[in-house]
Symmetry: C2
Subunit: 545 residues, 2 copies
Amino acid sequence: MSRTVIVGGVAGGMSCATRLRRLDETREIIIIEKGPDVSFANCGLPYYVSGEIKERSSLLVQTPQSLKARFNLDVRVSSEVISVDSDQKTIEVKTDEDIYTLSYDQLVLSPGAKPFIPPLEGIETADNLFTLRNVPDVDKIVTAIEETKPKKAAVIGAGFIGLEMAESLANRGVEVTIIEMAPHVLPTVDYEMAAFAHNELVANGLTVLTETSVVAIEDEGKSLVLATGEKIATDLIILSVGVRPENGLAEFAGIELGMRGGILVDEDYQTSVKDIYAVGDAIIVKHQITKEDTMIALASPANRQGRQVADILGGMKRKNKGSIGTAIVRVFNQAVASTGLTERQLQALNYEFKVVHIDGKNHAGYYPNASMVFLKLLFNPTTGEIYGAQAVGQDGADKRIDIIATAIKAGMTVDELPELELTYAPPFGSAKDVVNMAGYAALNIMEGVTDNIQLSELSEKRDSGAYLLDVRTPTEFEKGNIPGFVNLPLNELRERMTELPKDKEIIVSCHSGQRSYIASRMLVQNGYQVKNLDGSHLLYSTVNG
Amino acid sequence: MSRTVIVGGVAGGMSCATRLRRLDETREIIIIEKGPDVSFANCGLPYYVSGEIKERSSLLVQTPQSLKARFNLDVRVSSEVISVDSDQKTIEVKTDEDIYTLSYDQLVLSPGAKPFIPPLEGIETADNLFTLRNVPDVDKIVTAIEETKPKKAAVIGAGFIGLEMAESLANRGVEVTIIEMAPHVLPTVDYEMAAFAHNELVANGLTVLTETSVVAIEDEGKSLVLATGEKIATDLIILSVGVRPENGLAEFAGIELGMRGGILVDEDYQTSVKDIYAVGDAIIVKHQITKEDTMIALASPANRQGRQVADILGGMKRKNKGSIGTAIVRVFNQAVASTGLTERQLQALNYEFKVVHIDGKNHAGYYPNASMVFLKLLFNPTTGEIYGAQAVGQDGADKRIDIIATAIKAGMTVDELPELELTYAPPFGSAKDVVNMAGYAALNIMEGVTDNIQLSELSEKRDSGAYLLDVRTPTEFEKGNIPGFVNLPLNELRERMTELPKDKEIIVSCHSGQRSYIASRMLVQNGYQVKNLDGSHLLYSTVNG
C-alpha cells in the first residue's frame, strides 16, 4: 500500500487529499497540519472580525473527523514537520506530546505563505500588533478588540487583507488609519483604479496615508513612528505588508528555491528532490502572459494545483499551465477587481501596449438602480493580445473581470470582445456590455479610427502647447473642470469647429470619454490633430479626490 | 455625396447610423422609422408595465432631435417605406401627410421582428388582447390596465416576453394565468431548468398551464377556449407566442428569403439585391456551433450587426461570424440564463453529447446570504467541445453563463473550464466556482472517472432492474425521496458496501450529485457497476414540483 503524506491542510493540500482519495480508495493518505484547523475559510477571516460572519464555526468548513468519515483521511492537526530525510523517505513530526518519524512514498508540500514581518524597531514590544493568516490569529484579534476596546487602529499595508481588515475594524466602530508605503492603496492595480478604493475609504471616514513608511514602534505599540518623524497614536496594529513563501521545510529538504524564496517545481509539480511535490502559495509558477516566473498567492490556483497533483499521483496526465492572477476585493460599497498584467507591470516589462477606460453600467441604464462599472483594458495595439483588465463598481465588476479573465485564458484578442454574446435583460446587463464597448474602443485604436492619451500624459501635452478641449455642456463644465481646458459643447462642435486651431494638437475631454471620442471623429475628419483624453474628467476628478 | 437610408431606427438600425456618422462626417444618413420612436428601450417595456420603470420618458433613450444635434442624423419617425425600386435605387415613404420618393446609394434594412398572431377564432373581436413590441403597444396595455382595472389576465405563450409580462401584471395585483402549448415554460431552455422558473411562478401565485392550447376567443375576449373544451375567464390577454421576421419590404424588393421568411444575407450583410443590406432580428445568421442557418431575435447581435454593416459601408473589413444565442430572463427572484444549444436541440441534431448539472453557490457558502446557482453544462464527451449551458439562481446565474458564453465563443473545451481563474473573495465567488466545478465534472466523464444518467433516463433504469441507492443522511431521506431508492448514508458506505449487489447496475443519488459522485468512486473501485444520477434529488424534487 502506497502512502502519500501531505504537509499543509488548507486549500492546495486538502484539494489534493480529497481528490486523491476519490481516485484511490486503498492508498494511505496522511495530512500533517501545523495549525489546529484544516480546510478553514482563510479568505473569510476578515469578515469574522467585522461580525458579518457571525459564527466562528462557519470558518471551519471541514474537521479532521468529517474528513475521516467521508474520505478516510488521516488528518493530524497541531503537528509540525520538522525534518525531511529524502534518501530514507521519512519525515519527523512534532506534536505537543512527542516527535515521531513517518515514512512516505510521496510527499506533497502545501505550506502556503506567511505574513511578512519587517524588522521594525520596537516591534517585539507591541503586544497589540497582529498579522492575519489563520483562525488562531483571528481569535487573537477578536479577543483584543473585545478586551481592550480599541478606539484607534492602524493598518500597515493596503493590499487586499489590509483593506478588508481596515473595513472590518471600521465597521466595528474603530477609527482606522491605513498606512501604505507605495504611492497608492492596492498596489496590485494601477493608481487611477486604486483611486476609487481610496476615495471610498475616505468617504467612509478612514484616514489613508500613502507613500508613508513606519520606521519604528514605540510605547509598547501605542505609537507608530513614521519616516517623516511624525508619530501616530494607536490602540491596535494590523500588519499586512505582504506574504512570503513558507519555505523552511523545503529548504531543509534541500529543495531548490527560486525568486523570493519560492519553491521551484516543474509542470508536474515535482520539486528538485525526487518524490517530493509542492503546490499552492509557496511555489513559483509561470505567468501565462509573460511566461516568466512569478508567485501568485491566491486560493483558486492553489485549489487547482492540489487537485492536479493528486491526478498526477493517481497516474493521470496534467500540466501546470501557469496563472494569470485574477483577484477582487470589496472596499465598503465598491469592488475592485483585476486580471492579468497592470500598466505598471507592462511598463516594467517594456511591452508595447495601449489602454482604454470605459465607463459603463452594471445593467441597463433605464432600469432602476443602475450603477457604474468602470473598466480598464490593457492590450497590444499591433496584435490585439489582451494583457489585463481592472474594474471598479458597486455591482458587476466581478462579472466583467471574469469574462475578460476567460478571454485571456482562451487567447482571445480585443477584436473578439465585441463579438461576445452576453446575457442581457434590463436587470442584468446591457445590449452592449461594457466589455463589448471596451473591445470596440480597443479596436478603434488598433485600426487608427481614434487615438488617446492617458491622464498621466496630460501635463506633458499641456507643457508642449496642446489645445485642451472639453466638450461637455457648460453646466457640467462649470461644476468642475481640468485646469487649462476650454469648453465647447459637443452638440455645437460642427458649427463652431473653426474656433479651434489646426496647427496644434487638440486633446479632447468630456465626462468619461464617450463624447470626446465622438468629437475626435468629427475633428479628425476635418483635418485636426486630435487625441482623446482617456477616462476624461471622471478619471481626473477621481484621482484628484 | 453618398446617401445611406436605414429602414428601422431601433437596435441594429440606430447602431448602424451612429457608427456610420462617426466614420463619415459628410455622408447623408436618413433613418426611416415606422413607429413614433427611435432607440427606445424595447427590452424595458415589461418593466414599465410593472411600474419598476416609473417614467415613460426613461424608455425613450434617444429622440430624433438629440440624434440630429449630436450625430447630424436625419431621423424620420411615423414614416413607412412602402416600396423599393432597386433598379432606380429609390424608395417610397408614406407619412400621415403624404407619400414621397427618396433615392439611396445604400439601403440598410433593420426591420426587426413582429409578434406572431395565430389565426385564433374570435381574435378580431377581442379588444382586450395585446401584443408587445414598442412604446405605443405598452401605452395601450397600461391604459387598458388603468381604465379597465382587470382582475384576471391570461398570458398566452411562456417565452421571455410572456413571463416578463406575467410577472409585471402580477406585480400590479392582477391574477395571472399563463398558457403555454409546449410541455414547459421557457421553451428556449430544457424542461428541468425551466422547472425552476415554473415553480417560482407558482410560488408567486400565478397559474401555469403547459401543454395547453387556446383554440378560440369568445365573449369579446372575456373567455379563452382551450383545446380541451375548458374555458378560462379573463379581463386582459397578452399574446406572446413568438415573433416573425418583418420581411414585407424585403419581399417587395425581391430579396431572397430563407427559413421561416428570414432575410438572407451574406457575411457582409448584403442581401441578394445589390446595395441593399440587412441586419437584426429579421435576418438569417449562421449558428456558430452548428454552422446551420438560424434566426436569433436578440438585442446584442442586432447592435453588433448594425455597427458592422456601418463599418463595411465605411470601407472596413468585417464579417458576420454568426451567433450562439445567449439570453436571460428574470422570473420574480430567479434568473434563468442560457447560451448555445439545449439538450433538446442536441437530440434533434443527433449530436453525441453528455450533460452535467452542478449545484453551486453565488459566493462563498460561509459568507452571509449565499444562494444557489444551479448550472447545466452540455458538451461532447469525446472532443470536449462545449455545446451550451443553462443556469438558474437568485444571483450570479448571469455571470456564469457569460463566462461560458465567452468560453464557447473562444472555442474552449471543458477541460479548460477548471483552469479559469475567476474573481474570488467571499462576497463575490468561491475558490472553486461552479463553472470550474462543471469543468471538473465534465472532465471526469470524458476520462471515465465517473459516469452519470439524466433524470429522464431513470425510469428506464428502474424498469431494467437497476439498484437505486440514495447516500444522503436518514434525516434528509425521510424528508423526501425518489420512489424505489434505498438509503445508505455516504459516511457508512465503506463499512456497509457488501450490502449492495455486484450483479446489478447501481444508480446513486444524493442531494444534488456531489456525494453520489464520491460514493460512485468508492463503489467503482470495489468492482461495482455504478452511475451517478445527475442533479439527484434536487432536480427530481424541482421537476416534480
